[in-house]
């Protein structure tokens, strides 16, 4: 039984037949993982959003499959991670083989005390189904399938869009447009923007096969396996007894011929052995590129996800980084729309996410260069690494079959304030929050749950916390842009006016390099804005205003 693709019905939007175009605060073009995540984020922050998508179903066939811990944390904030993790296949061990030999194994999340696993595998259609369900249950998201954007006219104070539907066209006016319309982005083309980078001269056969097999739930990657002449191969488990197999075919391969079952089936049979029973679920042949737009903000039009940047899939950075774009943009756009931040805050979306895209492109390019050496000389070096890796720990670290997606710490962010006092490690400004297990009201809880509502501050308290101090930070919740404070303490604290969590394991203190008195301010996307060794409400307000892009 294959996946039953839903057909989302067309509902005539109110603009059809209207005389003047309706004006909306935000229109998102594209209901892929990025557009849907952004829409849910904006609506959760109280901003109405229209999502236009030209299709009437979820992603078809084999595409994204690995979703990283940070992305799951974002979806948890958006209220939809639990069903994904439940449906998904959780894994954290990867093995690398060279020829017949295993040369390397890695554990992606060697430390405990995180709510979410390092990675889950989940077919993109399941993922999008969960996101659509969540979007539909979120007040303020107006999700319109079979609404194709056919024209875009940016102006100084907004953007005009023309939309085609099965029942005719209409115009719509938006204060802001976010183009989440994928790698082929019609918006990018309509604006005539360059999309520069590298094409990798290689082809990959991506097959999803259905079988019951008792391989462990690990990522297996082969360089030059005996069953596949010359190329690399990847095996990965997905839900519903579906396995993802990638074969590197080389640039000379004929994509049409390679897709035919009479070619694909024997190839897989050689890999799995003559007795393996399997069915093909989906087969496609891809080439990959690494490229990005020069800028992600063009006046009132912003680009997020594949429309803004593309990477090779080694490292699972496509959707993961796109959702992290949405995470970065959502709160900023919401703050601008609410009049709490100047428009220029959106320039920091550009600078922070360009930094992230460059990091992703760099990682993905390096992995691709390792997997597909560009000439004989570099192949020799690569093979030397693989041969040494069998016995030499240093060489194992050089093996690169994809450095799996980690979130970017915005090291140069204009929104970050300098440390007050000295820190040795911990989570510096610009970096994403690190989760830790806590106890609240006698029940297990997670640190990230304290950071789900706008700006938040964690006050790491000692045994004799002065109640005045806590009263002073509690008052920050009454600001026009509130900061919601919580106390984290190693010992029980009674009667404090803010949520209080107990750090029994000490992991929260350790992960933030905290001592009694340490305060950490988080942006609404859970990245650190500022940290200090002592509590100063005025400094917290200044750091918040800086994170809102207000010049002092």
């Amino acid at each position: 039984m294959g996946f039953a693709y839903p057909r989302f019905e067309f509902r005539a939007p109110p603009e059809l037949g209207a005389r003047a175009p309706a004006r909306h605060p935000v229109v998102v073009i594209g209901a892929g993982p990025v557009g849907l995540s952004l829409a849910i984020d904006l609506a959760t922050r109280g901003r109405n959003v229209v999502v236009l998508d030209d299709d009437d179903t979820v992603s078809v066939g084999s595409r994204g499959l690995c979703y990283a811990k940070r992305t799951l944390e974002i979806w948890d904030r958006l209220g939809c991670a639990a069903p994904m993790v439940e449906k998904g296949v959780t894994w954290q061990v990867g093995k690398v083989f060279f020829g017949e030999r295993q040369v390397y194994a890695f554990d992606l999340l060697p430390e405990g005390g995180h709510r979410f696993p390092a990675f889950i595998n989940l077919q993109q259609y399941h993922l999008e189904n969960f996101l659509v369900e969540r979007a539909r249950a979120t007040a303020g998201v107006d999700l319109r399938f079979r609404n194709k954007v056919a024209g875009i006219a940016p102006r100084g104070d907004g953007v005009g869009l023309t939309v085609e539907t099965p029942q005719g066209g209409y115009s719509i006016d938006a204060e802001w447009v976010v183009a989440c319309d994928g790698a082929r982005s019609p918006t990018r083309r309509a604006l005539g923007l360059d999309f520069k980078g590298r094409v990798f001269e290689d082809r990959f056969l991506i097959a999803d096969v259905r079988m019951t097999a008792d391989f462990p739930t690990e990522r297996w990657f082969w360089f030059e396996p005996p069953f596949h002449n010359g190329g690399s191969t990847l095996l990965h488990k997905q839900p519903d007894d579906i396995w993802r197999i990638d074969f590197q075919l080389g640039w000379g391969a004929d994509p049409e011929a390679e897709k035919q079952p009479e070619r694909v089936i024997p190839r897989i049979q050689r890999m799995l052995g003559p007795d393996a029973k399997f069915e093909l679920d989906w087969v496609s042949v891809y080439t990959f590129q690494c490229r990005r737009l020069e800028r992600f903000r063009h006046g009132r039009v912003l680009f997020a996800g594949d429309s803004a940047h593309q990477v090779s899939p080694f490292g699972a950075r496509g959707a993961n980084s796109g959702v992290q774009d949405a995470d970065n943009l959502g709160w900023k756009l919401a703050a601008v729309l609410a009049g709490q931040a100047p428009e220029t805050l959106l320039d920091s979306y550009d600078s922070e996410r360009v930094e992230a895209a460059d990091e992703n492109i760099l990682n993905s390019t390096r992995a691709t260069d390792f997997i597909t050496p560009k000439n004989e000389a570099s192949r020799r070096l690569r093979d030397a690494v693989l041969e040494l890796a069998a016995d030499q720990p240093f060489a194992r670290r050089l093996v690169n079959s994809g450095r799996l997606s980690l979130p970017t710490a915005y090291a140069r962010s204009p929104l970050s304030s300098p440390d007050e006092g000295s820190f040795a490690g911990g989570v510096p400004a610009g970096a994403p929050a690190r989760d830790a297990p806590l106890m609240r009201e006698g029940k297990p809880a997670w640190l990230l749950d304290l950071l789900k509502d706008g700006f938040s501050a964690l006050y790491f308290a000692g045994a004799d916390t002065p109640p005045d101090a806590v009263t002073a930070i509690a008052a920050l919740a009454n600001d026009p842009t509130p900061i919601r404070a919580a106390v984290v303490s190693r010992v029980a604290q009674a009667g404090l006016p803010v949520p209080t969590a107990i750090d029994e394991s000490g992991l929260a203190f350790e992960r933030y390099d905290a001592a009694p008195g340490t305060v950490v301010l988080f942006r609404p996307d859970q990245h650190v804005a500022a940290r200090s060794r002592h509590l100063d409400p005025a400094a917290l307000r200044r750091a918040r205003d800086r994170a809102l892009g207000k010049t002092p």
Binding site: L381, D383, A384, E387, A395
Partner: protein, 63 residues
């Protein structure tokens, strides 16, 4: 600032050179290239400083 040491190292230079030559005495072109690749990786890791390695690469690429 250069970090790569290019002054002669202590020890017998002929011993050093002989060790490098002996290592490839019975190797063909491809085997020797594979050997050199492994040697580079081992020694670069031993040096452990990418700036030093970059300097060495720059000198080695000079014609």
């Amino acid at each position: 600032m250069t970090k790569l040491r290019t002054t002669p190292a202590p020890g017998n230079p002929d011993d050093l050179y002989e060790a490098l030559v002996d290592a490839r005495r019975d190797l063909d072109e491809a085997q020797a290239a594979a050997l050199d690749a492994k040697l580079v990786l081992l020694l670069a890791n031993h040096i452990g400083d990418v700036d030093v390695v970059r300097e060495a690469i720059a000198l080695a690429r000079k014609r």
